[in-house]
């Protein structure tokens, strides 16, 4: 071999060695999570992490199960210069903390261009059409949902049968009839943990959207002039809420129920219906009396209202990647597994989550839910009961306190609307 060829060969070999070295170079990623050891979801994610590490020996993922105070831990880590690679939290919490500061990777190109782990389509296409809309902030997707929770009205099927209620209500008047029937039988129609402010808000927010149309409440909140509140639909929603209270449809003493007392009472059959997210069944599953059968139906429509019965609300939990990550491709390579058919099936069957991708079956306990989701109109709205998710300060300062007063019978519906409007205008003026 001539000198030049020998040199070239050596260079080639060196390059080859370097390339191999690179491919094998170890990557260490940190996964900061809001889950606690002991929760089923944590177990499933941890298994997925271990499986990924087995399949990719040069990658180490270190999970930090920080619990619901993970945002405090994140704050410390970011400020201390040791940010994690993954942040596992609700999209709104991600957005309002690190998202709007520009610290999160926009997942859109990764979602659209990467093939799913165990399916023959791109990750983006595994989700239902328009799924990412409610979780897109400033044109970016900070967080890929991995579990979702819908809000429906839960009831005990066995009890309904005993009471002779053969059909679940589709419209508001039918709903009131059912309430009256249950009340006459000596059972509280609706259970509620009145001590939790956002639970109280669900009735108003659902009615508001059923009357003024999907996302009607959200639009009104963001209207800086405050004129949207003059829409008679909101007054009607407030009046209907008040009517339920005055007719005694909420369990007696609900104002004083501290979580989880309201759920306990419902599970024990002291109340018939419960408007709450789909994470409730797993919370009460092991504590039910024998013969209990879960049933659910969507929040009823209001005659003459613009919203439809099958407009569904949902909140999600998901994962995001921070821009400071050491290797965004490896990170996403792992993350996409959490939205895979295999893992989502586990989430559905074992953690009783509603899966986020379309090809996964729901567990039996959610049989009604599967049917409901099939009839869904439009895409999800993102606040499943209140603006706590997208405009938290507004919720905190205005909606929660005023709705509490409305529910507890302290102010009239008209007064409620008036105060919301005044405070909303002030709020936006202050924000500038």
């Amino acid at each position: 071999m001539g000198r030049i060829q020998r040199t070239l060969l050596i260079v080639l070999l060196v390059l080859l060695a370097a390339a191999m070295g690179f491919a094998q170079s170890p990557v260490k990623l940190v996964y900061l999570s809001k889950w606690n050891t002991g929760e089923k979801t944590q177990e499933i994610i941890n298994d997925a992490i271990n499986e990924y590490m087995k399949d990719n020996p040069n990658v180490t993922i270190e999970p930090i199960w920080a619990g619901r105070e993970a945002n405090v831990k994140l704050m410390a880590m970011v400020n201390g210069g040791t940010p994690p690679d993954f942040y596992d939290e609700d999209p709104a919490l991600i957005e309002n903390s690190v998202g709007k500061s520009g610290l999160m990777v926009d997942l859109t190109p990764l979602l659209k261009n990467t093939k799913a782990w165990d399916q023959d389509k791109k990750v983006w296409d595994c989700f239902s059409k328009g799924f990412f809309e409610p979780w897109t902030y400033r044109g970016q997707v900070n967080c890929m949902p991995i579990q979702q929770y819908l809000t429906v009205v839960w009831y005990n099927k066995t009890m309904f049968k005993t009471l002779g209620i053969t059909k679940t209500p589709d419209t508001w008047p039918q709903f009131l009839d059912v309430c009256e029937k249950i009340k006459k039988a000596g059972i509280a129609p609706i259970g509620l943990d009145g001590g939790v402010d956002f639970y109280n808000l669900y009735y108003f927010s659902h009615l508001a959207d059923r009357i003024t149309g999907m996302n009607g409440l959200k639009k009104a909140i963001y209207d800086k002039s405050g004129n949207s509140w003059d829409d008679p639909g909101f007054l009607k929603a407030a009046t209907l809420v008040r009517e339920m209270r005055d007719k005694g449809y909420f369990i007696k003493g609900f104002e004083g129920y501290q979580f989880p007392a309201g759920q306990i009472d419902w599970a024990q059959g002291k109340a018939a219906m419960l408007l709450i997210h789909t994470y409730m069944p797993i919370e009460v599953k092991d504590n039910l009396p024998d013969g209990f059968v879960f049933g659910s139906f969507p929040f009823p429509s209001v005659p003459g209202g613009k919203g439809k019965q099958y407009d569904l609300t949902s909140i999600v939990g998901g994962v995001g990647i921070m821009k400071t990550t050491k290797d965004v491709n490896v990170a996403f390579d792992f993350m996409k597994r959490l939205a895979s058919k295999k893992v989502q099936t586990r989430f559905a069957q074992e953690a009783l989550n509603v899966p986020v991708i379309v090809d996964v079956a729901l567990p039996d306990i959610f049989a009604d839910l599967a049917a409901i989701m099939k009839k869904q109109t439009g895409t999800f709205t993102d606040y499943s009961g209140g603006p706590g998710q997208f405009e938290p300060e507004f919720a905190q300062a205005i909606m929660y306190p005023l709705v509490d007063q409305l529910m507890f019978g302290k102010i009239s519906p008209a007064d409620f609307i008036k105060q919301v409007k005044t405070k909303a205008v002030d709020y936006w003026k202050k924000k500038g």
């Binding site: 002991g38 930090i64 920080a66 704050m75 201390g80 504590n287 009396p289």
Partner: protein, 283 residues
């Protein structure tokens, strides 16, 4: 105070005192009993009847609490950090309290107020700047770093509490020692320090309770599972419980975490009695 005398009027008053005390403590005892018995129930039993007795001694909750998170390890970590911190605090703060509480010099009042002002600062505010400092010292994710923080944050409370106790100690012994030719420092360690025992024991107990149950700082400053403290274990179980509604499991964890604190208190309260009589008799 002298023992109760037994005239008729006194017996009546005595009875009232006893009744009142018994009612109050009975209620407290009841609440403790409720927490413990509930920890032996299954959640189904709890849902069926909040106030009923458990059907059997169901220790599944305890087993689960002990195993779900590595409670044994956490327990040892907590013991280590808490005890070392308390010892350091005693030897750091008692002398300081002596100076601040006993002597009037230029700036003593200011110092006094400085310590009090420190107590007014919510530690949550210090989380971020402290974390930055700790990272700078490369002490993050270490029990030593956590201990350092614990000691520092407890200084104002301890100095304040101990200075109050020390202030009311008799000065004859001090004076006598000085006349005998002891230096101030020797006087302190030989005389005042032992005399301050009741105060020290009280502050030790209160420190123990606070540090044993502290979780926010531990959450931020510790990461590796091997180093977590027992309060983090409880926090983890409690949070998991809320989302799986495992209330009886929570109570089992609470009892496990509570036990050492109760034992320490019971055992040490004997020490207080012993220490006090010792201090009163001497000299």
């Amino acid at each position: 105070m002298p023992a109760l005398m037994y005239s008729k009027k006194d017996r009546f008053k005595t009875a009232i005192i006893y009744i009142f005390l018994i009612l109050w403590t009975a209620f407290s005892a009841f609440s403790l009993a409720w927490i413990i018995t509930t920890s032996f129930k299954t959640n189904k039993e709890l849902y069926a009847g909040v106030w009923s007795l458990p059907k059997g001694l169901n220790i599944a909750n305890y087993v689960k609490a002990w195993n779900v998170v590595n409670l044994k390890r956490y327990f040892l970590n907590s013991v280590g950090v808490t005890f070392v911190s308390i010892v350091v605090l005693i030897f750091l703060c008692t002398p300081a309290a002596y100076v601040v509480g006993r002597f009037k010099f230029r700036g003593s009042r200011f110092l006094n107020n400085l310590f009090i002002a420190g107590m007014g600062i919510p530690y949550q505010l210090l989380l971020i700047p402290l974390y930055r400092l700790i990272i700078g010292f490369r002490l993050n994710d270490s029990l030593f770093g956590l201990g350092l923080i614990y000691v520092t944050l407890s200084i104002p409370f301890n100095v304040f509490l101990l200075s109050g106790f020390i202030r009311s100690l008799p000065s004859e012994l001090e004076d006598a020692a000085m006349i005998d030719g002891c230096s101030e420092i020797t006087t302190f360690w030989r005389i005042m320090f032992p005399l301050s025992q009741p105060g020290i024991v009280t502050s030790a107990i209160l420190n123990f309770i606070f540090l044993w149950n502290e979780y926010m700082l531990a959450l931020v400053f510790l990461t590796n599972d091997k180093r977590r403290t027992i309060s983090l274990g409880l926090y983890s179980i409690q949070a998991a419980m809320q989302y799986t509604a495992d209330w009886t499991g929570l109570f089992a964890a609470v009892v496990i975490v509570m036990l050492p604190t109760v034992l320490i208190y019971v055992v040490l309260s004997e020490r207080i009695m012993a220490g006090i009589t010792l201090g009163a008799v001497k000299g």
